[in-house]
Symmetry: C2
C-alpha cells in the first residue's frame, strides 16, 4: 500500500501546529522580556494571561470569522456568471489549461466539451486549475478555530507556569527557559514529522524562532526600562 | 475584459492582512488589559514593545522558516517515486480524476496517456488534483516574512502610541480604544474589499474580534489582580 503513505497532513494537525507555534513563542518571549525588568512575578503573570487570552481570541475567533469560505463563494459565483455570460471564453480556458498539461489540442477540445456539460464540474475545474483555490470546509471552521485557540492556550501556559509557581522572576525565567526550550524541541520534532520536513533542521527552526523572539523581547524590555 | 476582474488577491495583500490582523488585535488587548491594573503607562509600554517584538519575530521569522516549500518538495519527490515504481497505478489515478470530472472513460485513458508522456507535467497534475497542493513560491518567502512582520509592527504601534504620549493609563486606554477601533474599521473595510467579502459584515467581524479580545484581556487582568 505504498500509495497510501502520503502525509495525511490533516486539518487537525495543521491547526494544532498553527496555534502551538505562536502559543509557545509569544507568551515565552513576553514573560521573558518582563522578567528582565520586574523582580516579582505578579505582573508577569497578569501580562502573560492577558496575552494568552488576546492571542487565543485573535487567532481563534479571528480565524473563524476570517471568511475564507466567503472569499471562495464569491469567486465561485463569478465563475458561474462567466460560464453563463461568456461560455465560449470559459470553454477556451479549459482547453488551454489541458493543452498546457500536455494534452493534444483536438483531445483538449473534446474533454473541455465533456466537462462543460455539467456546470458544477465546469466551475469546480476552473476554481481548481485556473484560480488554484481549494474549497474550504465550512463545518470545519468552528472546530478549527477552537483547536487553534486551545493549542495557543496549552502552548502559552508552558512558558507561563514557572512564574506562577516561583515568586522570584529571575528563577522563574530560568525554569521557563528550560521547560519552553524542551517543549519547542518536542513540538519542532513532531511538527517536522507531521509535515515531512528533515527532523533536525525542522526542529532547529522552531527552537531558534522561539529563542530569538524571547531574546529580542528581553533586550528590548531592558533597553526601554 | 470581464475575464480579468477576478480578485487579484496577491500575496502582498494577504501578507499585510495576516500581519495587520494580529498586530492590531493582540497589542491592543494586552495594553488594554494592563491598563486596568496599572495606573501609569511605563510598564504597559514595556509590555507592549516586548509583545510587538515577539509577535513580529514569531510571525515573520516563524513563517519564513515554516518550511512550506519543503513540505511541497517532499510530496513532489514522493509523486516522482510513485511514477517510477508504480506507473500503472498512477496512470489509473489520473484517469479516475478525469472520470470524476465528467470525462468519458475512453477519453480519460487517452488524456492520461498523453499527460504521462512528460513526468514533470504528470507529477504536477497529481500535486494539483490528487493532493490539492499549490507550489509555494520560494523567492517570495523572505519578502513575505518581512511584509508580515512589518504589518504586525505598524498594526501594533496604533494601540500602543497613546500610552507613549499620555502618562495616565486610563486616559491612554480611552485614546487607544478610539484610535484602534477606527483603525480596525478602516482595516476591516480594506480587507473586505481585498477579499471580496460583503463590506459591512467583513468590517464588523474584524472590529468585533479586536473588541472581544481587548475586553477579555481587560476583565481577565482585573480578575487576577
Amino acid at each position: 500500500m505504498s500509495k497510501e503513505i502520503h502525509n495525511n497532513n490533516s486539518g487537525l494537525v495543521k491547526d494544532i501546529i498553527i496555534g502551538m507555534s505562536d502559543g509557545l513563542t509569544v507568551p515565552f518571549a513576553l514573560t521573558a522580556g518582563l522578567s528582565g525588568v520586574l523582580n516579582t512575578t505578579h505582573l508577569i503573570i497578569v501580562s502573560g494571561l492577558a496575552e494568552i487570552a488576546a492571542g487565543c481570541i485573535s487567532m481563534g475567533l479571528g480565524g473563524y470569522l476570517a471568511g475564507e469560505s466567503e472569499e471562495y463563494d464569491t469567486e465561485l459565483q463569478r465563475e458561474y456568471n462567466e460560464i453563463e455570460t461568456a461560455p465560449q471564453l470559459e470553454l477556451q480556458e479549459v482547453e488551454d489549461i489541458l493543452t498546457n498539461m500536455g494534452v493534444e489540442q483536438t483531445l483538449s477540445k473534446q474533454v473541455a466539451l465533456q466537462i462543460s456539460k455539467d456546470k458544477n464540474r465546469w466551475a469546480d475545474f476552473m476554481m481548481k486549475l485556473e484560480l488554484e483555490m481549494e474549497k474550504p470546509s465550512k463545518n470545519r471552521a468552528a472546530k478549527s478555530a477552537s483547536t487553534i485557540a486551545l493549542s495557543y492556550l496549552v502552548g502559552g501556559f508552558i512558558p507561563l507556569f514557572p512564574y506562577i509557581i516561583i515568586h522570584d522572576s529571575k528563577q522563574a525565567l530560568y525554569l521557563s527557559c528550560i521547560v519552553t526550550i524542551i517543549a519547542l524541541i518536542i513540538f519542532g520534532y513532531l511538527k517536522s514529522k507531521a509535515t515531512g520536513q528533515p527532523i533536525v533542521k525542522g526542529t532547529l527552526k522552531v527552537t531558534v524562532t522561539g529563542i530569538v523572539a524571547a531574546t529580542a523581547a528581553f533586550l528590548l524590555a531592558k533597553a526601554v526600562s
